[in-house]
């Protein structure tokens, strides 16, 4: 019996880890479809960001209630996973609660803490479900929150509640079995919560109890391994990527836009043409300006897209979204991820991507959305996991304006004024200091 369980467990474990690694490698490959961007500087400051933003969830605390609940779920989930280590080792070696003899009384304190955290996780997830489905908090109801993103969020919350309930059931039945001195059930002594619940099973048959305990144990660990494999298909992948994404977060002032050295170079050549015999060093003609599709963006933009947890804090703060425009920074991130997955699928099938007549710009994100952005940086400021939707918006605008000549007519007029009058309005440069006349 134990041997069969052990073999089954080893098989299950190997398959789960294999599938997870395969998907993660595909995601890694997709992220590196993006252009290179060298982010190696200021290591100290970057680690600080990992501590503050990822571990400490500093940005979440801009809004207290969800922050505290989220902290329960996050801390609970991460810490309880220490318990998973024991479960996996038990599963692989056929032991039961192998850490108990090693840790002595400390083991009970540890599991007791986990049980309290489990209750907090259940509470947090329940409130989150209520906020999403009953209170219908506005940021979870916008246009891009179609069926899948909404269900995805609900599935995760429900899964976490079930996993925690299984964990508690496992401990409670285990306690009752210990009280009955059943062999194989190591005498660990009571845990804080399950000891209180154990009397519920006082009347149950020992056989039923063992069935329940084993059932909960198996469902719990299978659930955890399933959850692991669900992550990379879900917005929940942020629990992994939030860490590197905080490390690679932009440290410059938010107002600073990336320079385009290729254009800087061309403009210099315009003003200071090189001597005519100097043609040998001419750089190759530049490719596309800005970005039209996922591979034109840089890898940090793409990692941003996989990190996005679709929380909508960005969109809730966006002045364009707030006033009913089509633009939603969250949708920019979701579209980028969807497009990346679409390209990734083709690479999985054909080994390479040769174009499919579609692009992120136009097929996913429309010009009307992009024109509405005021570059106010509210989305960047709000994002709890250091995502920069504005950077993508600006790169897409560059392609629309410089490659596709699709700027709105009013902007073309403004460009014309700057070119001819050195001011965005139609005024003569000679009138620049007219204001002084009546000082």
């Amino acid at each position: 019996m134990h041997i069969i369980q052990q073999v089954l467990f080893i098989l299950l474990f190997i398959i789960a880890v294999y599938l997870f690694t395969r998907k993660v490698r595909q995601i890694r490959r997709n992220i590196f479809l993006g252009k290179s961007k060298n982010i190696q500087d200021h290591k100290r400051e970057r680690w600080r960001n990992v501590l503050l933003l990822a571990f400490g969830q500093k940005k979440m605390f801009r809004n207290w209630i969800p922050a505290i609940l989220h902290f329960f779920v996050y801390a609970g989930f991460i810490i309880i996973n220490i318990e998973i280590l024991e479960i996996i080792l038990d599963g692989l070696t056929g032991t039961h609660r192998m850490f108990s003899p090693l840790l002595g009384p400390l083991y009970n304190v540890l599991i007791g803490c986990f049980e309290i955290l489990a209750i907090l996780v259940i509470f947090g997830c329940a409130v989150f479900l209520i906020r999403r489905n009953i209170l219908r908090v506005k940021r979870f109801q916008q246009r891009e929150m179609t069926r899948w993103p909404k269900s995805d969020a609900n599935y995760i919350l429900i899964m976490e509640i079930i996993l925690m309930l299984l964990f508690l059931t496992m401990n409670t039945t285990d306690r009752e079995l210990q009280l009955r001195h059943i062999v194989h059930y190591t005498q660990t002594g009571p845990f804080w919560i399950s000891a209180l619940l154990a009397p519920l099973f006082g009347q149950a048959h020992t056989g039923t109890l063992i069935g329940l305990e084993r059932g909960a144990w198996w469902l719990h660990i299978t659930g955890v391994l399933f959850f692991l494999n669900y992550l990379p298909y879900s917005k929940h992948f942020h629990i992994i990527l939030a860490f590197p994404n905080s490390y690679y977060a932009d440290l410059e002032p938010k107002g600073k836009m990336d320079n385009m050295p290729e254009i800087e170079h061309e403009v210099h050549l315009m003003f200071e043409p090189p001597p005519p015999d100097n043609t040998a060093t001419e750089p190759p003609p530049p490719g596309r300006f800005g970005a039209k599709d996922v591979p034109d963006l840089n890898w940090k933009n793409l990692m941003d897209a996989y990190t996005c947890t679709e929380c909508g804090r960005c969109t809730a703060a966006c002045p364009a979204s707030q006033t009913g425009k089509l633009l939603s920074p969250r949708k920019i991130m979701m579209d980028t991820r969807d497009r990346m997955e679409e390209i990734g699928e083709q690479i999985n099938k054909n080994g390479k991507f040769e174009g499919d007549g579609k692009s992120l710009l136009y097929d996913y994100i429309t010009p009307e959305e992009l024109w509405a952005c005021t570059t106010c940086n509210a989305c960047v400021e709000e994002c709890p996991v250091s995502i920069n939707p504005l950077d993508i918006i600006l790169q897409l605008r560059r392609t629309m304006v410089m490659d596709d000549a699709k700027a709105p007519a009013e902007w073309n007029a403004m460009f014309g004024n700057i070119e001819n009058n050195r001011a965005p309005w139609k005024f003569s440069p000679e009138e620049r200091d007219k204001w002084r006349e009546d000082v």
């Binding site: 107002g255 836009m257 707030q322 304006v401 410089m402 460009f415 009546d438």
Partner: protein
């Protein structure tokens, strides 16, 4: 300035709005007046000043931006400019953050920062019973001074020195709501929505019960003034730049 052959302490970069827009010209004049009163030797580039390229760059026209930047950096470097003060957060941001990689290195400050310094140093003193004393006002954080460059306190300290009663809007400091002009929006109609951004922002200001909105940016000035008109509050809700408050109140 070139002709005069003297070296100014600071270059006052007036900016396109400050030069041409009638309302913004008043801010320019107010700030120039303050500089003169305090006795700071400043210069302007006059018709040698050109658009810094911000609207072009943010609209996606990098070529035009690079052309303007090239010209301006040549001019500024030719005159040996070391320090720039500007009344426009967009100019401030571009000079401070985006010109250095292109070869334009200057010490750049926004006029609200300079005003705070001058007040701290005692070089600006307010009149006894200045017009804004005790007045209920609200302050609008511009995106390019606030989030873009994390300057929230300097302007508020100036307002403190004026003894105003500052009531913050629902969204302020790093949460401040945009006026709707940045990112080259100033030069085009808004996309379809249910309300204009400036009208929405002015509503937030109205909710504070203030009779004066203080701004620090010529574009915010335009947008907020239009919003006040659109909301029918012209009679009892004023919009003034922080420099105008100081110019009216100093000794």
């Amino acid at each position: 300035m070139a002709a005069a052959g003297e070296s100014p302490e600071v270059l006052f970069w007036v900016g396109c709005a400050g030069s041409f827009d009638q309302r913004a010209q008043k801010i320019t004049k107010a700030f120039a007046l303050i500089l003169e009163k305090v006795g700071i030797r400043f210069a302007i580039l006059g018709n040698e000043e050109s658009c810094n390229g911000d609207p072009a760059r943010r609209a996606g026209n990098e070529f035009l931006f690079q052309m303007m930047a090239y010209g301006n950096i040549q001019t500024l470097n030719n005159y040996g400019i070391k320090k720039i003060v500007t009344t426009c957060p967009h100019c401030f941001n571009i000079f401070k953050n985006e010109y250095p990689v292109l070869g334009g290195h200057y010490e750049v400050i926004h006029h609200t920062q300079l005003l705070q310094q001058l007040i701290d140093e005692g070089r600006i003193k307010m009149k006894e019973g200045n017009a804004f004393k005790g007045k209920r006002i609200t302050y609008h954080d511009s995106c390019y001074l606030g989030r873009a460059n994390n300057i929230y306190e300097a302007p508020r300290k100036v307002l403190q020195a004026l003894d105003t009663e500052l009531v913050e809007m629902k969204h302020c400091r790093s949460r401040g709501m945009c006026c709707g002009a940045g990112g080259a929006q100033m030069w085009k109609e808004e996309e379809k929505g249910h309300i204009r951004i400036n009208a929405a922002r002015v509503k937030e200001a109205e909710a504070t019960g203030a009779s004066l909105i203080v701004s620090n940016c010529p574009y915010c000035m335009t947008m907020l003034s239009d919003g006040v008109k659109a909301n029918g509050r012209e009679e009892d809700l004023q919009v003034l730049d922080i420099a105008e408050l100081v110019a009216q109140s100093m000794e």
